[in-house]
């Protein structure tokens, strides 16, 4: 190794090919891609079931207009028809096709849960990483606020917040997000505290890295896998919460084909037309099961010890 070699920069020919591919590479996804997450996820049969369920539900939501045999709001058949070829899940009191309503309901349930989950994750990652990284007074104050919100049962608090607005899926989503983020913020903060003490963070500091850069480039990518697992698991919980609150009339309003609201409409006719509650209930169960199995599988795969 000579002085001249160190100063000059005779580029290796391979180096030039490597670099452009890296520019603009999606850094956030690197940790997932490198571990062959999907391949390993598919080895676990429960995770496979979860994945299939989630994919089916997402397809149902996306392709609802194509797949649905009828308009979800159209009064097309007789009242309380049992399942048949033209109405696979039967019809409701007003003669609306239940199958079509459930397909369109997937859009609302999954969509609302997804956006709520997104909001929650962003809020939690922001608050959790800033407090965990900075520590000190900011950390103490914000964490006391978090503790206060955590002291209340989250569903009850969400009902209170949702009750402040005119009932709709939007207000329901905001109500859930405003209550749900706190638990996550605590978890993210804990993860950040653990990563902050690792030696590569000290090494980054020694190398003259700016704090903001260390947080974004080193700490966040390292807390991301558990956050993804949490967000996936929480999708199931959120779908359940959305359905529950809609069932109580705090969310989607008739005639919106939301699963919880459909359960509510069906409950008065349970003995004469049980399919009105059976199919929305199955849809909710499938969604919750799917996300839970997928989340569990992801947790096993993304565990750094695996």
């Amino acid at each position: 190794m000579s002085e001249i070699q160190l100063i000059g920069s005779p580029m290796a020919p391979e180096a030039e090919e490597v670099a452009p591919a890296l520019i603009g590479a999606e850094r956030v996804l690197q940790p997932l891609a490198r571990r062959g997450v999907f391949r390993r996820l598919m080895r676990d049969w429960t995770a496979r079931i979860g994945f299939v369920l989630v994919v089916l539900l997402v397809l149902a939501a996306v392709l609802a207009p194509v797949l649905a045999p009828h308009e979800p709001l159209a009064l097309e058949g007789g009242s309380f028809e049992s399942p048949s070829w033209s109405h696979p899940f039967g019809t409701d009191r007003l003669g609306r096709d239940l199958f079509s309503r459930i397909l369109f309901g997937a859009r609302l349930s999954l969509g609302t849960a997804f956006f709520a989950s997104l909001l929650i994750t962003f809020a939690a990652v922001f608050v959790g990483s800033v407090t965990g990284f900075l520590g000190g007074a900011i950390d103490s104050v914000v964490m006391r606020v978090v503790d206060t919100i955590l002291a209340f049962p989250s569903l009850l608090l969400a009902i209170v917040v949702a009750g402040l607005f005119k009932p709709s899926l939007w207000s329901l989503m905001l109500a859930l997000a405003s209550v749900w983020w706190v638990g996550y913020a605590r978890i993210v903060r804990g993860l950040v505290l653990a990563v902050r003490e690792r030696q590569f963070v000290t090494a980054a500091r020694v190398a003259g890295g700016r704090s903001s850069r260390i947080l974004i480039r080193h700490i966040l990518p390292n807390v991301l896998p558990p956050v993804i697992v949490l967000a996936t698991l929480e999708m199931g919980t959120l779908i359940l919460a959305i359905s529950a609150l809609s069932f109580l009339g705090l969310g989607a309003q008739p005639p919106t084909p939301e699963w919880g609201a459909m359960l509510n409409e069906g409950k008065n006719h349970f003995f004469s037309a049980p399919h009105l509650m059976l199919f929305p209930g199955l849809a909710i169960s499938a969604a919750v099961l799917g996300f839970n199995l997928l989340g569990d599988g992801l947790r096993d795969v993304l565990d750094p010890k695996s």
């Binding site: 002085e3 890296l22 020694v206 991301l224």
Partner: protein, 346 residues
């Protein structure tokens, strides 16, 4: 920021303005850690200098303040754990303990780099990216150029097929290769001072020799000064020019390598040297050891801190702490009986 032209000069030669001035001068450094049982005086009034291009080894047992000294120099004592409570750290005349945070950030990595015992890299980022990042933190380089330089440096520290391996993640590297990558990262900006905190301790014995050889080579070609922290006197002899022995948060002896090995003046140094295994020794002998444990730095003994373990301790030793005395050419020791006595003969 230093002008770009000065980078091409090996720092060992120095220019007119810095001639004769040490690169780093630590004066009366005091660092305390908080612990549940009290204040730990990890570094208790340590002073030393390093000249441009010089290799100073700091030796001593675990918990004698070696690492705390290094972390204090770079302002890396975690705020919740402790703080530097006194002294000065003059880097080219600039006190690192009182400069603004942004200035300190500019110095870290660029002028003073550090490598640690554990070869730890960020597990979720490519090796090449991590080296590029250090380059880009201090130089206006495009991503592309920084990447190319990172690849080049990986090659220079002996990573085969560097262009390919730069795209690897740390778990795809062995411990020795990770330490090589970290050395590449540390010297990529051609710092004037490299602090190496037990750089070989966590590695296999065979790899240790290779990493030391690499450090020697890098130092030779870049002419940087090195502060080598170690408890292994075996590696000091082949690497360092001067040695500073620390005990109980204080400097107890300081000497050029030769005179330290030939005529250790402090009984602690003598004990340390006695602990290195000799192949030509009598196989039936037990390996020599210094009995007892290092003193608690929460309530250190009055008098000489080594007195409780010292085979030669007298009343005087237990009563008063010995001053650092000049005992030879650039050779100083903090022992009441440093002059005249030859501990090796006892």
């Amino acid at each position: 920021m230093r002008p770009a032209t000065s980078q091409a000069q090996p720092m060992a030669s120095g220019d007119a303005s810095t001639a004769g001035r040490p690169l780093l001068e630590v004066r009366d450094l005091r660092t305390e850690y908080r612990s549940p049982s009290g204040i730990v005086r990890a570094v208790d009034g340590v002073s030393f200098t390093i000249d441009p291009g010089e290799v100073l080894a700091v030796v001593g047992e675990s918990g004698c303040g070696k690492t705390a000294t290094a972390l204090s120099i770079l302002g890396l004592i975690p705020r919740h754990a402790g703080q530097v409570v006194g002294g000065q750290v003059l880097f080219e005349g600039e006190d690192l303990l009182s400069v603004r945070a942004e200035r300190l950030r500019q110095i870290r990595g660029d002028r003073i780099a550090m490598i640690f015992q554990e070869p730890t890299l960020d597990p979720v980022r490519r090796i090449g990216d991590q080296i590029s990042e250090v380059l880009r933190a201090h130089r206006a380089l495009s991503h592309h150029d920084a990447w190319n330089q990172a690849v080049e440096f990986l090659g220079l520290v002996g990573i085969p097929r560097a262009a390919e391996r730069a795209r690897d993640y740390p778990h795809q590297f062995s411990g020795g290769m990770r330490q090589r990558a970290l050395i590449a990262m540390a010297v990529a900006l051609r710092p004037d001072l490299l602090i190496a905190d037990e750089p070989t301790t966590a590695l296999d014995v065979t790899i240790q020799a290779q990493i030391l050889e690499l450090l020697l080579e890098v130092r030779r070609s870049l002419g940087m000064a090195v502060l080598l922290i170690t408890h292994d006197l075996g590696i000091v002899a082949g690497f360092a020019e001067r040695v500073m022995v620390m005990y109980g948060g204080r400097k107890v002896e300081e000497a050029p390598v030769r005179s330290l090995y030939r005529q250790p003046k402090h009984p602690y140094t003598w004990g340390l040297l006695g602990c290195t295994t000799r192949l030509d020794g009598n196989r039936r002998d037990r390996l020599p050891q210094i009995t007892g444990a290092p003193p608690s730095l929460i309530s250190p003994p009055t008098g000489c801190r080594f007195a409780p373990r010292c085979p030669h301790a007298q009343e005087l030793c237990r009563a008063s702490y010995p001053a650092l005395l000049q005992v030879g050419d650039r050779h100083r020791a903090a022992c009441h009986f440093a002059e005249g006595e030859e501990w090796g003969s006892s």
